[in-house]
């Protein structure tokens, strides 16, 4: 009876202790990267709400877009006619260029050997807190997504690297974007072929680190930076960004390159998860 009275008297303390002990134990287990079934299940369940709100949000924005589109339709029609004439001319040139390109590829033995099978997915949310920069997508292990699969997107006709899958739930996954400070991508400059490591920063800028100092004379702004394929996660040749600025600090043995990412993460809606056969550890 005494014990029960003591428990009742200190009920708040016991409950607080239990909560905090659970949290610390859970963090401890999580950070030792044990299998996180409860987290995966929770992600799957609660991402449904994100998906729902995302749908309503899209419904509104699509309705507004439709009205705007109708308004501009007439103007677009006139422009389209003009363009059609232009494209008729361009088509002939394009066919000739395509043939030339095909022949050049054969000559250079350009290889499409990487088995890219992709899973399209929609971005349904971002991390609720400011201290993680992850994205949530609406496809999970049920759709064949696995941890560390590379994620790309296409914007304005250009393909670019988004990041990699960090966690998978049954019907949702968490993606780490390349602007995350803890993301590292082995990369190279597409023309000068110098290698480095692309990573994010706290200000959400993207930098390429460890580029040889003597590369300074051979590189210039505007050069494309692509994945090098030297780590096991990302296939080679995926565009990451364009060289924006070169920082050559006197005391440093390497250059620091600032990138403009190909993908505008502020308006990222759809992504493709690459089912890499060779990349998964």
């Amino acid at each position: 009876m005494k014990g029960t009275g003591f428990f009742k008297k200190h009920r708040v303390g016991f409950l607080l202790g239990s909560y905090l002990a659970f949290c610390l134990l859970s963090i401890s287990i999580s950070t030792k990267t044990l299998i996180l079934r409860p987290k995966e299940i929770g992600l799957s369940v609660f991402s449904l709400f994100q998906s729902g709100v995302g749908s309503v949000q899209r419904l509104f924005s699509e309705t507004i877009d439709s009205v705007r589109t109708l308004k501009n339709l007439k103007q677009d029609y006139d422009q389209a006619l003009e363009r059609l004439r232009y494209y008729e001319k361009a088509e002939k040139q394009y066919a000739a260029l395509e043939e030339e390109n095909r022949q050049l590829r054969e000559i250079l033995q350009f290889s499409h050997s990487i088995p890219y099978e992709s899973i399209p997915a929609q971005v349904i949310g971002k991390d609720p807190q400011n201290y993680y920069t992850t994205l949530t997508i609406n496809k999970g292990s049920l759709h064949g997504i696995q941890k560390n699969m590379p994620v790309i997107a296409v914007q304005g006709g250009k393909q670019g690297l988004v990041g990699k899958v960090l966690h998978t739930g049954i019907n949702a996954s968490i993606v780490q974007p390349i602007y995350d400070p803890t993301s590292y991508v082995a990369a190279r400059l597409s023309l000068s072929r110098y290698e480095g490591l692309v990573s994010g920063s706290a200000e959400e800028k993207i930098y390429m680190y460890y580029v040889k100092r003597f590369a300074r004379m051979n590189i210039q702004s505007g050069e494309l930076i692509v994945t090098s394929g030297l780590n096991s996660i990302y296939p080679p040749g995926i565009p990451i960004g364009v060289l924006k600025a070169i920082h050559a600090r006197e005391y440093d043995t390497s250059l620091l390159l600032e990138l403009d990412p190909i993908i505008d993460f502020g308006r990222l809606e759809y992504v493709y998860v690459l089912k890499m056969q060779r990349g998964n550890p």
Binding site: S26, G42, F46, T133, T134, L166, I174
Partner: protein
């Protein structure tokens, strides 16, 4: 330990925070509406309900985040408990006190994150107590706290007074 409406409001705010609020992010910082709601609910309902609101909301945040399970639950539980201690100890006006409560809660969260970051190897976390991002978050929470508190005051069922007093 709190009521269903309180948990529903926390869930709605959490979903809004993770889907829409990034559109108004400044310097990578968006407001933490869930934290502010926990502060309000804890202050209205006492420490028992406050810590449970914090624990449950934090746990759901962890499910939706790449943070280790228990990270946000720990932070929100502590904030909920501490603000529960302040229940009915001072008068809350319309503007100034909510602003102070929002700022102090954000600072508490910042100190808590630093504590956990020192204690565990938290992958993917990039937090600095003295960064612009954190300062903007404090500012955001200060500005939004009076509005959110005013909104929550409209839900009369959120403050079952005296229910947890003495516990």
């Amino acid at each position: 330990m709190g009521n269903l409406w309180g948990y529903l409001i926390l869930l709605v705010l959490l979903v809004v925070q993770s889907t829409i609020l990034h559109r108004i992010a400044l310097e990578g910082a968006k407001p933490d509406l869930v934290l502010l709601a926990v502060v309000y609910l804890a202050n209205k309902n006492g420490k028992m309900a406050g810590q449970t609101y914090g624990f449950v909301s934090g746990l759901i945040e962890d499910f939706l985040s790449v943070s280790p399970l228990g990270f946000n639950a720990f932070l929100n539980t502590l904030v909920g408990f501490l603000y529960g201690l302040t229940s009915e100890t001072f008068f809350i006006d319309q503007v100034i006190i909510p602003m102070i409560m929002g700022a102090v809660a954000t600072l508490m969260k910042g100190v808590g994150i630093s504590f956990l970051a020192g204690l565990f190897n938290l992958e993917n976390l990039h937090f600095n107590l003295f960064s612009v991002t954190f300062l903007v978050e404090i500012g955001y929470n200060m500005v939004l706290a009076p509005f959110l508190f005013a909104l929550l005051r409209l839900f009369k069922g959120l403050s079952p007074k005296k229910q947890w007093e003495g516990l």
